[in-house]
Structure formats: structure tokens, C-alpha cells
Symmetry: C2
Subunit: 329 residues, 2 copies
């Protein structure tokens, strides 16, 4: 930005009391009303945090170093900032705000840092996990809309850890994806595949987030679960997961993701199912009926909830591309 092009209010002698309004003022030239509002809210909260805690220079420097470490440990296959967002409950909160669910639909939950874009495509009956030490588990699911109508051709991303509790990307020298697949629901909205029984595992805790959890006396474990992500034009993107009932971490998930409606009872295939799906007798069985919300239903609910929330906060807002911005005439 050429400085001569910017007309700036005089900023000098800023104090604990007046700095916030002055930062707002200089940011108020932002031509994007949504970014302007995000920055205003962010600056207010960051400054209020410092004022409410009387943040010291040493603490500020510790935070700078912590965030730098979080950034520097990130790689193509490790996202420590998502982990940070997860362990402070932000990820679940954002999903809840952005993907509101009518009572009849499948709830969402945290994406986590381990989704990748390179999973193999599998047909029904395909194999998700090739871990020979995993306990085989047949997964049979349906995907329908809120009126009970099957949704064919939905793209479904599924991923889980191996039997040791590690995702493929956590192994150095990973050659190709495993424990993950992309599938499509068939004409009746069915999809099924061969996986392994999910196991509990710790989120990566050898980095700065692990250190933070230790200082907070929190454990890093997630209860056994399998991730599912649904994409189908006309339907709201669904990021969710299924959790096994009775897991030791069922009520203490390090990333706050467990919802009662997503907890499943693991069963065993019947002899008939074993034959029908070509799995061994005694194979474990996980079944679930997913319900997607239409884009229209989701948009309408999201906007209604946004406006209600803004009114409750006493903010006079309007929606721009579905997101609140100040309503200035």
C-alpha cells in the first residue's frame, strides 16, 4: 500500500485506555465489511484479554514463543494450530455455529488435524484399513435426507487410526494413504466397507500443545472413533464422527467432540450378514444411519440463529453472504 494513498487519523500518545479505539480507527478503512468487523471484534477481545489479566511482558513473550513453536512444528501432515483450536474448544464451537442441525439430522463434530486429500476411492465392500493387527469391523451405513429419502451419490470421506492409535500420516516415510478412503453412496443411499475397530489414542502431544495440556493437568486422549465427512451438492457439508459406547474417554475427550447421538454400540455380524458381506463370522459390526440437512435448511437455520444471537448481544447487524456485519446506513 502506497502510504500517500492512505488518509490516516493522527495516532500518537496511545495509552491502555485509548489504544483500542485508535486501532479500530486505523482498521476502519478496510473496504471489506466482514473483515473489518472480524478485526474489530478480534482487536477488542485481544486488548480486553491483556487488560483483564494485566498481561506481563514475560507472559507476552512466552505466548509469542509458544505460537512460534506451534507454527514451526506444522508440516503438510501435521496441523498444530488446528490441535490448539481443538483443545480450547474453538473447533467444536465453530462447527456448531456454522453447521446448525435440525433435531432430525446427524450432528457434526470436530474435523481434527488428520483429514487428507489423497485417500483412495473405494467401492462398496472395499477396504479402509489394511492393518493386520486391527480387529476387523464391517461398517454398514445409510445416508438420507431429513424426510427419510435416500441420498445417492454422496461423496463420503472416512478416516480412522490403525490398531496402535496412529493415523497413516503420523508415520515417517508414509508411502501411500491407509486407514482412509473416499466412497460414494449407492442408489439406495447405502455404503459399506471393511474397517477395523477404532481404538482410543492421544492427540499428538510431543509438541507445544502436549506441553500446554501437561501444564493444565489434562490428558491428551480421544475416545475410540471413526471420522466421516459428507459432500453432496444441495446438502450442507457434514463433518462428523462415530464414537464407541463405553470407551474410557467417552466423557473426557481432549477435544470436546463427543455427542450422545454419535455414540454407537458395536455389534457382531449375524451368520447371514457374514455370508452376504463376505466377512468372517464373529466380525464386529458398526451400523449408522446418517441424515444430511439440505443447503437451504442449513442456510435458513444458520441465518436465523445468527440474527437471534446478534439481537441477544444487543448488536444491530445485517447479514452479508450469510454472515453478520454491522448494519450501518
Amino acid at each position: 500500500m502506497d502510504p500517500s494513498q492512505v488518509e490516516i487519523p493522527p495516532l500518537k500518545d496511545l495509552t491502555i485506555e485509548n489504544i483500542t479505539e485508535n486501532v479500530h480507527l486505523i482498521n476502519s478503512r478496510c473496504p471489506n465489511p466482514r473483515l473489518k468487523y472480524l478485526m474489530k471484534s478480534l482487536v477488542k477481545h485481544v486488548h480486553d484479554f491483556a487488560r483483564e489479566t494485566r498481561l506481563s511482558t514475560d507472559e507476552w513473550m512466552a505466548a509469542i514463543q509458544f505460537l512460534t513453536q506451534v507454527g514451526q512444528i506444522c508440516t503438510d501432515v501435521r496441523q498444530e494450530f488446528i490441535l490448539l483450536s481443538d483443545v480450547i474448544g474453538l473447533s467444536l464451537l465453530v462447527d456448531s455455529i456454522d453447521h446448525p442441525k435440525p433435531a432430525s439430522s446427524t450432528e457434526g463434530t470436530v474435523l481434527g488435524p488428520f483429514h487428507t486429500h489423497d485417500a483412495m476411492t473405494e467401492s462398496n465392500g472395499g477396504t479402509l484399513s489394511h492393518d493386520p493387527d486391527g480387529e476387523p469391523c464391517l461398517v454398514i451405513c445409510t445416508v438420507k435426507d431429513t424426510s427419510g429419502k435416500p441420498i445417492p451419490g454422496a461423496k463420503i470421506d472416512i478416516w480412522e487410526t490403525d490398531s496402535k492409535g496412529f493415523y497413516d500420516v503420523q508415520y515417517a516415510g508414509r508411502q501411500e494413504p491407509d486407514g482412509r478412503a473416499v466412497m460414494q453412496s449407492d442408489d439406495e443411499g447405502n455404503f459399506w466397507f471393511n474397517a477395523i475397530v477404532p481404538v482410543p489414542y492421544p492427540i499428538p502431544h510431543d509438541g507445544p500443545i502436549g506441553k500446554l495440556l501437561k501444564l493444565l493437568k489434562r490428558h491428551p486422549y480421544r475416545p475410540s472413533h471413526m471420522h466421516f465427512m459428507f459432500d453432496k451438492p444441495g446438502y450442507d457439508h457434514l463433518i462428523t464422527a462415530l464414537y464407541l459406547r463405553g470407551d474410557p474417554y467417552e466423557t473426557s475427550d481432549a477435544v470436546f467432540g463427543v455427542k450422545e447421538s454419535l455414540i454407537v454400540d458395536l455389534k457382531t455380524v449375524t451368520p447371514k450378514q457374514a455370508k452376504e458381506y463376505g466377512v468372517a463370522e464373529g466380525c464386529r459390526l458398526l451400523t449408522y444411519d446418517f441424515v444430511l440437512v439440505s443447503d437451504e435448511e442449513a442456510r435458513s437455520l444458520r441465518e436465523k440463529e445468527a440474527m437471534t444471537a446478534m439481537e441477544k448481544l444487543g448488536l444491530r447487524m445485517k447479514l452479508l453472504d450469510g454472515l453478520p456485519v454491522p448494519d450501518v446506513d
Copy 2:
């Protein structure tokens, strides 16, 4: 942390409304009361930010990617998180909170990301900048306490850019420090050295912070200044800078650092001074009398301001090592 050692409240079915209190609950086992309070305030503000803005998943992901880029561009000689803190006014705010100044003392300002620990030690009359293109400037200063008594033996870190507006560390292949020095005040509290006239310069804007400023239609320039940092046992650490009056960016510093009391009028040495200090006639002259606050004065003022601020916020707090924590009996 061994999970079996942690007694955790049941966390399940968390919503937009109840997630904050539940994150507080799981963090409430933190044995360090100050860290516990910092986390509680941080989580509250981060969640409120998401709720007030109805933060979308796309925006959340853009923020994750932005922070990752900020972390990844950091090196031993580039600190982009400090830059981020600077451009949102947090750095100046934290300095103001942590280093309150009685009216009679020298005000503090932002540290910036360019202080290093490898500057050469120079004696009085030494040379700070070896840039042949810089306009020579003799700098003559004193350092005293609030009663006017000279402070001998204060360690003074001084750093400035070269004539092109770059710090030494911004050059690839930097062999040794330049444009920086560590000095000591003499028995009368005097120190003087040969520098160059500071020039305005942009903060590094080829990274994510530069992109952010561009989106906000803000210029990246800092007015001409020279950094000073004072260390002397018994006195509050002073991070400050002197600014040249009349600089085009005097009232629009990208990092909010300018204070009227730190603006100086550049003079020219008298023939007598030129002879006395061994500089050319017509050499520019910068003079300043720094006033340090004693540790005791600073601590007392900091604690008084902290308690007043906490009372204003309606928070019932006590001080622990000088910093507020909730006063729970």
C-alpha cells in the same frame, strides 16, 4: 499426563451455549493459579469472538492458515508473531501495562522484532553504524533517576536501521552485527556514540503481516527512530525509542509506538562540540535525557494500577508475584 490420574467432569454434548464453562471446568485443575486465570480469560475471549462474529468454518480455516504462515516465516532473525502483536496494538498495550511510568520518567514504547543479543560493546565515543551512506549523527545522552541523580553503569542496548531502512539482520549472509551496540553509562550517567540519522522504513511486509496490512488498507511504515533499552539492577527495565520530529509517518506509525515525549528535534553540533567529540563540523546532533524508574516505584505503581483496573472491571482479585489472580478463599 497419565489419564488415570485425572478426575475429570463428564464432558459430552457440548453446545454453543455451554462449551465455554465446560472448557473452563476441565482447565480448572491447573495447579498454577496465574496460568489458570490466563487460560480462563483467553478461552472466554476466543469463544466470545467466535460467537459475536458467528465465525464460519472457512474463516476459521483461513485464520489457521494465516497463523501457520506467521509461524513458518519466523527464523532466528525474523519474528513475525511480534510483528502481528505490533500491528494490532498489543505490544504497546502490554508495555504500557507492565511498565507504568510516573510523569517524571521516560516513557516506554514497542520493542519491535529486531533486537538481537549479539551487538558489540562500545565505549563512549564508539561507533554504532558503519554505513558509509548514512548521514552521520552524534548522539549525546544522560540517564538519571526520577530525583535527577545520575545512574552510572546502566547497560544500554541501542539499535537502528541503515540508511536504506534495513536492520542488519534483514540482509541475507549477515556476517556480524551493525547498526547496534551495547554501551554503559559513565560515572555521571552520560553516554555518547556515533550513529546515523534514522530514516523511516516499512516493517517487513513481504510476509503474512504485510498481506494483512494490505487487506486493511494500512501502510507498513514506521517513522524514523532509534531504539534504546536500559538495564540496571534496581531499576525497571526500559524499552523505548526516540522519534524525529516532522517525520512523514509521525502520526501514522504502523505499530502505534510514537509518543510526544519521545519525539526529538534533530540539531547540528556546535564547532566546540565537533572538536570535543571528534566529529565533523555540521554533523547532526541528537540529545536526550533518559529517566529510569526504580524497581520499587515501578512495582508499586504497577500493582496499584492493576488493582484499580480489576476493581473497575468488578473482578475480585489478589496479586500473586505482582500479577492478578482470582481471590478465592
